[in-house]
Amino acid sequence: MATFFGEVVVAPSRAGVDDEEEIEETAEDREIRRELQEKREIAAFWTPGAAGRPAEEPLPCSRFIVAVGHNAVAFLSSFILDSLCWKVVGAVKLWNEWCQTTNATSVLPTDSFCLFYQLISDPTVLLCQCSCYVAEDQQFQWLEKVFGHIRKEGLQVTILSTCPVAEYKTQESTLTLPSPFLKALKTKEFKEELCCPLLEQPNIVRDLPAAVLSYCQVWQIPAVLYQCYTDIIKLDTVTIEAFKPLLSSKSLKNLVKDVSESTKILKKLLTTVETHNNIYI
């Protein structure tokens, strides 16, 4: 097809399967593809359980909170997590073209990492902070390795994520949208009250949050996804604070730290991050 500038380009197609893929692969191509697939495999590490329980044994879990993306991760770091009440019990390491997870023990929300925490006072409460990008071919692996290590009886999942408001479809004028704002999606089994309105048709959710919610819907696990639509792409307080209504939800209510402490931690977090990103003296 010819564009307005006269150049001839291949017409984009929603077919999703390039005709070039029909060409037979050589042994070398297959070897390269196999090596790339191995490199893209994700690895999950779990700490051995209490009282000598092996690391491979699935963890009993009543509540699993998953934060995907820098702002959701920063929200949990500021308002929920602290080193006294929570301990690290697992990590996922992965590599893809967009990111590689860090091996550092002390992490910032802008780093790429995926860590699992357990509440010391109630070991059935698990929390996951995933600030690395999990590519579409790795999402299923992530689900199998994470949910394969969690017992599903009595489990309830809460997912927090963010999305650019430019992807929000509505008949209203986008100038009047109260960005950032929260929208929710829930599985059939989730019966609790929501902290915000449901996401209207024809909006959809993609990537890891969608993969987790799909898994919960198929395997009949009560789950809710809270997606924050924001017009700021980097870490910022306004987007993080947009998640605050969730602090009154049943799953997060009794996990909340002192709010004044949280605000201080949030400010400190963002100052640290800004210094790192500042290219001017």
Binding site: S13, R14, K186, K188, R206, L225
Partner: protein
């Protein structure tokens, strides 16, 4: 793998499985949406797979506030036992290098669930048609040998056109012909695999381009309906089109006539001339009839 919504697990033995190929214009998927929403088909399960890009959203077929909050995922199964119809809807593209495993998983499920036949709705790039294909209907069909044997000459009765094969080496040799469905996604792979496994499969496809493909979806569903008779069409499409034409033609004349008073009120000469033209005769002497016409 197929995961039922409720523990039981429905029985699809003898059913017709209708599914789309993710293809140019998403025509197959739009057509399947049309079938599901028109027949009000309830969801019976999910096709849980690692081959499709994950996505979730609320029920796209919502009719009430209550059913608008049901979650939908990327591959779902709907069923209508009264018509022995089961429909698989696919809502996202394939993950890179995963379309072959998907075809294998799908065909295994078709065999294990003992579906009587599979109908694949698809589309192909309109710009890659040859000179002959540019004329006539843009709709085509393909049947695996197993299904062709089963339904014999039904397609000839319907006067449908089979998808033409193209030269394997165009310009060099015309003797060797191959099936080529550009923009058809996994259509060709599913079809060839079904041929080799002896599965009863039909492919119904439409030549189209990317754009507003809703009319293409309607065209494809009407094509399907000619065969499966899923719904009754009281007035045939041709009669309907003729009816609409006449209505719009007469509507135009009425509209034109309604302009008469406004246009000719201050132009009695124009009225005179136009009446003369319409009646095709000299105006009568000033009579009551003439006065009446004059006052129009």
């Amino acid at each position: 793998m197929f995961v039922p919504c409720d523990g039981g697990g429905p029985d699809f033995e003898g059913f017709t499985l209708l599914m789309p190929a993710v293809s140019v214009g998403n025509v197959g998927q739009l057509a399947v949406d049309l079938v599901i929403s028109t027949l009000c088909m309830p969801k019976v399960g999910y096709f849980y797979t690692d081959c499709l890009v994950p996505m979730v959203g609320n029920n796209p077929y919502a009719t009430t506030k209550e059913n608008s909050v049901e979650l939908s995922i990327n591959a779902e199964v709907y069923s209508l036992p009264s018509k022995k119809l089961v429909v698989l809807q696919i809502r996202s593209p394939f993950i890179k290098n995963k379309y072959r495993p998907f075809c294998q998983t799908l065909l295994s499920w078709v065999e294990s669930s003992k579906c009587a036949r599979v109908i694949l709705l698809s589309s192909s790039h309109a710009y890659q048609r040859d000179d002959e294909q540019l004329l006539g209907t843009p709709l085509r069909y393909l049947l695996t040998p197993a299904l062709e044997k089963a339904i014999e000459g039904h397609m000839q009765e319907l006067k449908w056109k089979e998808m033409e094969k193209v030269a394997a080496y165009p310009g060099i040799s015309d003797t060797e012909k191959v099936l080529h469905i550009p923009g058809g996604g996994i259509t060709k792979l599913l079809f060839t695999e079904s041929c080799s496994k002896g599965i009863h499969m039909a492919v119904l496809l439409k030549f189209c381009s990317e754009g507003d493909n809703i009319p293409d979806a309607f065209g494809l569903v009407n094509y399907l309906n000619e065969w499966l008779q899923l719904i009754e069409i009281r007035v045939s499409a041709v009669c309907f089109r003729v009816f609409i034409f006449y209505i719009s033609y007469f509507h135009f004349l009425y509209w034109l006539a309604s302009l008469w008073p406004a246009v000719t009120k201050s132009r009695p000469n124009v009225r005179y001339v136009l009446i003369k033209i319409v009646l095709g005769s000299f105006p009568p002497k000033k009579t009551n009839l003439g006065q009446r016409w004059w006052k129009l």
